[in-house]
């Protein structure tokens, strides 16, 4: 038991030191990297490790005869959660969300310290000590609180009331409801019934399962299946269309959507809304192929109002590409990311 707890304590101390070091820049801030795509799992497991570490630490200190009051345990644990949320998670989460998490974790800590009468007494004893001011130290502490609290609260309300020039928040719908049909280059496409004419098996039939067997999943960097090279001179049918789509993508789209289709192209940093990340399971993976066709053909300017058509730099690609080229690019985007388009039923 003791050995186990010592290991836990060691992990806790090392983790804490690394985190603090990273926050204050003692060690490089990317010492422990957040891996794209796995962040929620990583954050949860990191927190679990920390909790185990703290438990070990507390056990070890106890067995060494050092009593760490429950009062400070509760407060420090809450402070730790807040620090972690603020500094560790990237991209940063807004203050309002952090405040919500803060309240939830506060309630949790409160429940922990007031689980039974004895614990609760232990927890509130330091507070009562200060209120009663029986010793000189406590008296000094009480005087300090009496002066500091009004100052801090007054100062805080001054800071919040002072006019600020923060960015105004505007909520934009990323995937607005599509129209029933769209007219591109003189032809009308009904979104529910249209199909990508190039997603075909060797028999020339629309076949989603066939097309997606040609890419294999390996973490984020999905690769083509062995012997499924679209650049093979003998590549025919679906694979040939993938290559043609890729050529169009890398002549037109990668400037914003990036070489790995992750929305980090050359010009992406300048634009807001940011270009879509196709490797994110929340974009093309959960949309229908015809929805993508509509978005590509009509671009930002063709969005409904809730999509903020005035701000998006997405070109209406019907101005630059033929209908066939648009379908091929869409084919390539699914091939490269390894996702299936969603079906209508």
């Amino acid at each position: 038991m003791k050995a186990l707890m010592s290991v836990g304590a060691l992990i806790g101390v090392v983790g804490l030191l690394t985190l603090i070091g990273m926050i204050f820049g003692v060690v490089p801030s990317n010492t422990v990297r957040l891996v794209e795509g796995y962040m929620p799992m990583q954050v949860l497991s990191e927190l679990a490790i920390f909790v185990a570490g703290f438990a070990g630490l507390s056990y070890l200190l106890n067995s060494m005869g050092i009593v760490f009051p429950r009062f400070w345990q509760g407060i420090l644990f809450w402070v730790f959660i807040q620090t972690y949320l603020k500094f560790r998670i990237y991209p940063p989460i807004p203050f309002s969300v952090r405040a919500m998490y803060g309240t939830v974790s506060f309630v949790a800590v409160f429940m922990w310290v007031s689980a039974n009468e004895e614990d609760w007494k232990k927890f509130k004893q330091p507070i009562l000590n200060v209120l009663d001011a029986n010793t000189g130290f406590h008296k000094a502490l009480r005087t300090m609180y009496l002066i500091l609290l009004p100052l801090l609260i007054g100062g805080f309300s001054f800071l919040t009331m002072r006019p600020s020039v923060d960015e105004p928040i505007e909520l934009r719908t990323v995937h607005p409801a599509p129209p029933a049909s769209t007219k591109v280059h003189g032809k009308t496409y009904t979104l529910q019934t249209s199909q990508n004419p190039y997603r075909v098996n060797p028999e020339g039939k629309y076949d989603q399962a066939y097309s997606n067997k040609l890419i294999v999943e390996q973490s984020m960097g999905r690769l083509m299946a062995p012997n499924a090279n679209p650049w093979d001179e003998k590549a025919e049918g679906y694979l040939k269309y993938v290559r043609e789509g890729g050529e169009i993508f890398f002549q037109n789209c990668h400037f914003c959507h990036g070489d790995n289709l992750n929305g980090r192209g050359l010009h992406a940093f300048a634009f807001n809304p940011i270009p879509a990340n196709f490797t994110d399971p929340g974009t093309i993976a959960q949309l229908q192929e015809t929805f993508i066709f509509w978005r590509v053909a009509k671009g930002g300017i063709g969005l409904p109002t809730e999509g903020f058509p005035w701000a998006s730099v997405m070109p209406p690609w019907e101005q630059h590409l033929t209908t066939d080229e648009i379908w091929k690019v869409i084919l390539f985007e699914y091939w490269h990311t390894g996702y299936y388009p969603r079906t209508w039923d």
Partner: protein
């Protein structure tokens, strides 16, 4: 900033004097001797220090062994990675001629010659690559680090988190053995490895002394001849070419986040030291390892690093890890000023007002698209008084461009494709590519512009006139300054509509300053807050404390920018900051008093309870 400013000013003078002394036959001897003496003194004081002791090796370098050849299965696996991820730009034969190549500048690397830019090896040598070494930033695996971190300022992205370390090693095994055709990474006969020992070298502290020595050295070693007097890449090297004959431009030291070798750590002086020590193969940037001591190189790296843009307090800008560029704040605040607003950017009132970084991307929405925009950011500040609001815009542009003669189109014309302003065709081959066309364009005017919504007060939120010159329903109020000295005011009614002129307003806008100096434009534009009457049909009325959407446009005349071929920003907001109202001081005081009363009540209650009294 004061020290740096002084240093660079002094530098400017020195360069002018040096150039003058070159022109005249009777060279002023004192200066030259002084410089030589200085250099001697420095080298004497630090001579003999360094890692490489072998007589023929430059200081700081050591001889190394060639890495073992990667096994066949790694090469085969790497081929799959290459033909999924890399082929699109680097091409089937690795000649840097994939489908994306012709619209890129810099062009993708042609692997065939084995010429690689960012290395720890001596000039001309192959970079370090070892399929067994998977430690990022170890200094032992240059190509692995390049694939991991990407090459900022080019289209090469960081592949970390996308390809596993194994996959990165595999693809490099394929590239180095199959696509590098003229040289062999394992050929002991023809290849040597002389490796810069970065881990053994300790940076010299960037104190005033070191910066002073560095400032003298960048003149002495002729760095500024290409990189410019202030290091903005605007030296007399306008048409430099790389080994393949493509135009190449010297790095702008003020944008360290665009350094190819910055390894996603742009303010790290070690990256500059490495590039300066090893040179950049395939480009005119030589290695300075043979004619500088290690200490001199640290001094130079320190001064170059110190020139990279910093915030008001002199701290490095925080870099967004998602984009590897400075973090963006989309609000351009305008501070109130009593009385006249100075037209001198060095004036205290301007220095106090923090700059805002405005990121610029190519206009790639409508034809003619601008795939390569040479202006990728501008810095904006704003002040206002009771009558006018003034915008001070500064941006780096290596060339001052003013069109010769009269432009063939009217200032209001936006659709100028008929006059030869065309977008790059998708596939042209090397000769017709953007990289080949750079610096051969017809020269138009450098220009800057910005737009506000006309009558924004009446536009229901969240509507805005479209970012590209407004639309038919909501019009844009556009101000455009061009390097021929004109400042014009237009009404924009859509991306494909020529501007409408608004003559009556032009008399009221003022150009307070427009100057190009050492690779930087400084333009200051003043406009009235409101018109004479309260009728504001034709221009934007500024109300204090309101967020007004704003979009910036920039044209680089030497990039062939005109009409819609330009750089453009996202929507920013400008806001006239209100003077702080009195309530802000009163209410917190009231709250504090309330807290004191609450404390008194609590203490009384506690005391009573202890005494057994019940309230």
């Amino acid at each position: 900033m004061g020290l740096i400013g002084n240093l660079t000013n002094n530098l400017g003078e020195q360069v002018v004097r040096l150039t003058m002394s070159k022109l005249r036959t009777n060279v002023k001897p004192t200066l030259v001797i002084g410089a030589a003496l200085g250099a001697l003194l420095f080298s004497a004081s630090v001579g003999g220090v360094g890692v490489g002791h072998a007589a023929d090796l430059p200081a700081g370098f050591k001889s190394g062994e060639l890495a073992p050849a990667p096994p066949a299965d790694m090469i085969e696996a790497g081929k799959r990675v290459y033909f999924t991820k890399c082929v699109w730009c680097h091409g089937v034969d690795g000649a840097g001629d994939g489908p994306g190549a012709d619209r890129l500048w810099p062009r993708p690397r042609n692997f065939n010659q084995g010429t690689f830019k960012i290395r720890h090896t001596a000039s001309g040598e192959l970079p370090l690559f070892n399929y067994n070494e998977r430690q990022v930033d170890s200094g032992k695996n240059d190509l692995f680090d390049t694939v991991t971190h990407g090459l900022p300022g080019s289209a090469m992205p960081p592949w970390e988190g996308i390809l596993s370390e194994e996959q990165r090693s595999q693809v490099l095994s394929f590239v180095t053995t199959q696509l590098v055709k003229d040289r062999k990474f394992t050929d002991k006969q023809s290849e040597t490895q002389t490796i810069l020992q970065m881990s053994d070298l300790k940076p010299v502290e960037a104190n005033e002394e070191s910066l002073k020595r560095g400032a003298a050295l960048i003149v002495d070693k002729k760095c500024i001849e290409c990189h410019g007097v202030e290091g903005r890449g605007d030296g007399n090297a306008f048409n430099l070419k790389d080994d393949w004959g493509f135009s190449i431009q010297p790095a702008n030291w003020h944008k360290c986040w665009n350094f190819r070798g910055s390894r996603q750590d742009p303010y790290n002086v070690r990256n500059i030291f490495r590039t300066f020590s090893t040179g950049v193969n395939g480009t005119p940037m030589p290695s300075f390892a043979d004619n500088t001591t290690v200490e001199e190189r640290w001094d130079i790296a320190n001064i170059v690093n110190s020139l990279c843009e910093r915030d008001v307090e002199g701290k490095p800008l925080s870099i967004d890890p998602l984009t590897d560029k400075p973090k963006i704040n989309f609000v351009v605040p305008s501070a109130p000023i009593e009385g006249e607003i100075s037209n001198d950017p060095e004036n205290e009132m301007w220095k106090k007002q923090g700059r805002r970084y405005v990121a610029m991307g190519g206009q790639i929405t409508h034809k003619p698209r601008n795939f390569v925009n040479r202006i990728d950011d501008i810095w904006v500040r704003s002040l206002y008084n009771e009558k006018t609001v003034v915008y001070l815009i500064q941006w780096d542009d290596r060339t001052k461009s003013v069109a010769e003669g009269k432009l063939p189109w009217a200032p209001t014309q936006v659709n100028v494709e008929n006059f030869g302003v065309k977008e790059q065709a998708p596939k042209t081959g090397e000769e017709g590519s953007i990289a080949a066309a750079q610096n051969n364009y017809a020269v138009y005017n450098d220009a800057i512009g910005f737009q506000f919504p006309i009558k924004w007060q009446e536009i229901p939120a969240p509507f805005k006139p479209r970012f590209l010159f407004g639309d038919a329903k909501f019009n844009a109020d556009i101000l455009k300054w061009e390097a021929d000295g004109s400042l014009r005011s237009f009404k924009g009614t859509g991306w494909d509509q020529d501007f409408e002129e608004r003559d009556d307003f032009e008399e009221k806008v003022k150009l307070l300053k427009a100057e190009w100096k050492n690779g930087q434009w400084t333009v200051m534009i003043s406009r009235p807050l409101r018109g004479d009457k309260d009728d504001y049909d034709d221009y934007t009325r500024f109300d204090v404390g309101k967020y007004i959407p704003m979009v910036f446009f920039a044209w680089d005349g030497h990039n062939g920018d005109a009409g819609r071929k330009m750089a453009v920003s996202a929507f920013y907001y400008t806001i006239l900051q209100p003077p702080i109202p009195q309530e802000v001081y009163i209410y917190p005081a009231v709250i504090a008093v309330g807290v004191v009363l609450l404390e008194g009540w609590m203490l009384t209650r506690r005391a009573n309870k202890k005494k057994g009294k019940v309230l």
